[in-house]
């Protein structure tokens, strides 16, 4: 099981029956594959769809039916389509139970940076700023460190922010971290690791929960 898959599987365990969830582009999109059996979750795509299904077979792809990552998707029974301003009314209005998105940096205050590198990358924030400002619970799903081993969980973000004090939880292949008023609280660590090892790979200071547990991941979907 890859680190990304472990993250996706762990987050999927947070879903409850009847949840409405927005999944960001990239790693978060994988989470849809691991919804626990017996649980109905409706996925929203901010370009204007609720009830997003998985990818179509290649010859059934409909160019009028894509997700926010511009990938072709399918319709689930009971899905609906709506315009952009309605989609973001839904997001901004606090109707999404959960928004799960990737990050370049997160910090001790729950600040998130995931949209730009000044002077280098001109892409845009898309719907990310709206999602972090509007969802009831914002979960960052990302690999713990960059490819060169730099921590993505910092004392203070150095890149331009996507949102200020918006992140509720950070999930990586190593651990689950809850953002609290006191700071970052380590609540789960991957099997075989301990808190000190996670801290060693993290710039931000981690408080250790008295209930620290092993991060369990369902093997089956």
């Amino acid at each position: 099981m890859t680190g990304k898959e472990r993250i996706a599987r762990r987050i999927a365990r947070e879903f409850r029956d009847g949840f409405y969830v927005n999944l960001g582009i990239g790693l978060p999109t994988m989470i849809a594959e691991y919804v626990p059996a017996g649980i109905d979750v409706m996925f929203q795509s901010e370009n204007g769809m609720l009830g997003v299904g998985g990818p179509p077979t290649d010859d059934c792809a409909d160019p009028d039916l894509i997700n926010a990552g511009k990938q072709p998707v399918t319709e689930l029974p009971g899905c609906s389509f709506f315009a952009s301003e309605e989609s973001f009314a839904m997001i901004r209005g606090g109707h999404m139970d959960m928004s799960i998105l990737g990050a370049m940096q997160v910090d001790e205050n729950g600040n998130l940076a995931n949209w730009t590198i000044p002077g280098k990358m001109v892409k845009g924030m898309g719907g990310a700023m709206d999602l972090v400002a509007g969802a009831r619970r914002v979960i960052v799903a990302m690999e713990h460190q960059t490819k060169d081993g730099t921590s993505r969980i910092l004392k203070e973000c150095t890149l331009p922010l996507t949102g200020q004090r918006v992140v509720h939880d950070i999930v990586t292949e190593l651990c689950w971290i809850r953002v609290s008023a006191e700071g970052l609280v380590l609540t789960e660590v991957a099997d075989g690791l301990d808190a000190a090892e996670v801290q060693a790979r993290t710039e931000a200071r981690l408080l250790v929960s008295p209930d620290l547990r092993v991060m369990t991941v369902n093997a089956s979907a």
Binding site: N47, D62, K70, S87, G163
Partner: protein, 234 residues
């Protein structure tokens, strides 16, 4: 009342250089392909465009960019467009990036007679810089202003000669809001139907918002994620 014009070229014939133009679509989905082609053919220049994205290299608004028609752009995401990135980094094109939901709401407000409104989005980030903030209840919000345009070029699925429009699946996106926010709204449709054929409960854009209707042809509708993977050859 008949708003149908015969060709896309005719539909955009009086759009002046320097105009502010809204273009519907999310990525390459639900974009007015025929109207963009006609505009490129006309080579109007110095346009101020408002659109969520800016196409890709080789398709959609990317074609307008390559033809040197765009002076400034307001949108939320322009990834997948290397030419644009280069122009912006060289400061040859004035790009304003704003959150997608704020963009959509600002356009809706422009059509709805609401000059300004407060949102939580972007507080404490670069998009709130220079903007008024205000505490309402126990949260602080950013003041955002409405967006309007001289022209909206939108894409719908079916329409009638009165300008009533319906959209198909996620090709709806920014099109309905933009239809309301411009002095001149031109709708490109795939199929013209008789008034009364669209169930009035299903009409998304009532005809009042639409000035011209043109039936598009030869749709390519590339799927962006595949188009880019295959280097524009899709």
């Amino acid at each position: 009342m008949n708003k149908v014009v015969q060709t896309a070229y005719e539909a955009v014939a009086d759009i002046a250089s320097g105009s502010t133009v809204m273009l519907g679509g999310f990525g390459l989905c639900g974009i007015p392909e025929n109207l963009i082609a006609a505009l490129v053919e006309r080579r109007v220049t110095g346009l101020h465009t408002i659109s969520n994205n800016m196409g890709v290299d080789g398709f959609g608004m990317g074609l307008m960019l390559e033809a040197g028609m765009i002076a400034s752009h307001v949108g939320s995401y322009v990834g997948e467009n290397r030419r644009l990135e280069a122009l912006v980094l060289r400061k040859e094109l004035d790009l304003t990036l704003i959150p997608q939901g704020t963009l959509a709401e600002r356009i809706r407000a422009g059509g709805a007679g609401i000059p300004a409104f407060y949102v939580p989005t972007g507080l404490g980030t670069v998009v709130a810089e220079g903007k008024e903030t205000r505490k309402i209840g126990d949260r602080t919000y950013v003041l955002e202003h409405s967006l309007n345009a001289d022209v909206a070029l939108i894409k719908a699925w079916k329409g009638d000669r009165l300008g009533n429009l319906v959209y198909r699946k996620t090709a709806r996106n920014f099109n309905p809001a933009m239809a309301t926010a411009a002095k001149l709204t031109v709708a490109e449709i795939e199929e013209l139907v008789e008034p009364g054929e669209l169930n009035p409960d299903h009409v998304v854009t009532p005809g009042i918002y639409v000035n011209r209707v043109v039936v598009g042809a030869a749709y390519r509708k590339p799927i962006e994620s595949k188009f880019i993977q295959s280097g524009g050859a899709a």
